[in-house]
Amino acid sequence: MQESTFNDISGKVLSGGRLGDDDFLQLYNDADLYQLGFLANAIREKLHPEKNVTYVIDRNINYTDICVSACKFCAFFKAPEDKDGYLLTKDELALKIKETQDLGGTQILLQGGLHPDLQIEYYEDMLRFMKETGIHVHGFSPPEIHHFAKVSKLSIATVISRLIAAGLDSIPGGGAEILSDRVRDFTAPLKGTADDWIAVMEEAHKQGLRTTATMMFGHVETIEERLEHLRRLRELQDRTSGFTAFIPWPFQPDNTALVEQAPIEKTTGYGYLRMLALSRIYLDNFENVQASWVTQGPKIAQLSLCFGANDFGSTMIEENVVAAAGISFRLSETEIKELVVDAGFTPRQRLMDYSLVG
């Protein structure tokens, strides 16, 4: 990108102006890696001048892999008629939580497939049982909540308030994929629309829950559709300020139906860092952006800290979904801290709401 054009855009953004959709597309098409990196890094430094890089100690618990949604990009789910599907027992749940707490973990990322039969009471019971341990439950992505409402014939607002009453602490941003109905119709027609996802998050924010937002990119979407996704998030955040963080990650194609239909090239490290930087620049009302070491590995995740990310995500004592798509990076808390220090930042353990531990 010509330096003068870039200076116009960076000047606008750095003096507090908002990146327009045209600017976004222009940066996407013409800016080089350094222009995006410098701009994203400057925004990150301005938002987080203390040079902290945060992380959370938690565990993913996937209470079931039985799912009626059958998304084509998913390598994790089992169809309801598949006898290999599982549903965790309370004993299994209790053990996983105990192991997490023994390792200094503060929260459980609780997500599962869209189970055909379970009623709201089941999830309320699960939450009450889990909350006996005192652990923070970051649980049930919008498609799950939408599904619970459908199965139990309740409104979204009622489902959320009942889950809160049963102990739900916050909602993870999963299931957003790409918030564009063309993409959803093609990849996950049974999962609910972009409006549905936004509606669940808006209601959750209204009822006082903090949530995160994700984006899974690099499959069948166009750049305009990625922009549409970011725009919808930014608009909702303007209304509610309920999102704590944005977490983009590239689609992992192995073992998924989407790739059997048409070959999809895996997003490269270069493509990931560019998208991360663009997201940091566009989402001016999001305080935190997470690196995805689970999909990118420790090296690229560390480099993410120079391209807009200020959070290293979670230690993920257990992770099943990305692993099912053929990726198996592991990082301990010690390794995360070493990577952060090596990049010139201070590692700080945090909770879901980004308050610091210790």
Binding site: G11, G37, G269, G271, G297, I300, C306
Partner: protein, 380 residues
Amino acid sequence: MLDIGWDNFPAFFMTMKKFIESTGFGDILEKVEAGERLSCDDGVRLYNSNDILALGYMANMVRNRMNGDDTYFIYNQHINYSNICTNLCKFCAFGKDKEHEQAYEMDLETVKQKVRDRLDEPITEIHMVGGIHPDLPFSYYTDLLKGIKDVRPDVHIQAFTCVEIAHLAGLADKPVGETLELLKDAGLGSIPGGGAEVFAPRIRELTCEKKLPGKDWIEVAKVAHRHGLHTNATMLYGHIETMAERVEHLDALRLAQDETKGFLAFIPLAFHPKNTEMSSISSTTGIDDLKNIAVARLMLDNFPHIKAYWVMIGPKVAQIALSFGADDMDGTVKEEVITHMAGAETEQAIGSTTLVKLIKEAGRTAIERDTLYKTIQVHE
């Protein structure tokens, strides 16, 4: 909008140049822009910095000036004829004592068969290195070269590091120059860059006391250059070396290159601790990998090429490295043994289509080259 005090944001950010100045590297940027040689002090400052964007930006300027968007790869085959080694360097998971259960050596027929097995592939280079074997005769090595040429006459053989060459000269009981002539006659085309490690005597004493000393490594390379053989150069980073020792290493290489102009590429090699005697050291990070690419590009102003060896740093970082000074991704490689015995989690081979895709997505021009950087095919 978050209240983040944009009004106080310094106006320096308006140009890239001002951004670099804000990181304290304005003086180095001026030298880079003027094409002036950086001092060793400059090199240490660069290594000690975490401003990877500033380092990369300057290295990228040099890369673009020297190589434009051209980004090279080669269709090659790796053969490690034996891992039996008397040096047993502490950073190495490949070399084994002759009595070790994992020790192996390939006879001539095995090597020829490996070449024969892949005759249907468009391989232009055989990359062959091994340990310092205690008792194979000089004729074994010339027979290997001749044998490979028998099976695949057109292939370029890049073989035997400077450390092996010095050992072979001992076996032949001849000076290095004469030994090289004999090897050339047998089919040797060029010499790879391995065995350089870190030249500093302190590092060699602590990690590889039996290995050819650094100054002798350079001497062998210079003799090779004078005998018309091109060579590469490497540096093994990320173990116990200091930043000053890294810079000293690069400076020694660039002074040698001033004399002979025989080096083609510099290849920073990331230390892989697993299964070595130094396994308590952490693996290199993405930032250190990119820093080594960028500083090498900035310091080695007389090296035509800087290689991001994807086997060592992974294809993802190697791709990013193309914007941090590197203009070469090495090759398709197959059966990579040395790094994988040290726990490398990268694949053993990536196809040329993958390499081309990585290069193109990084906004560069993918060029399949031969060993001496002659273009074989430009992938538009």
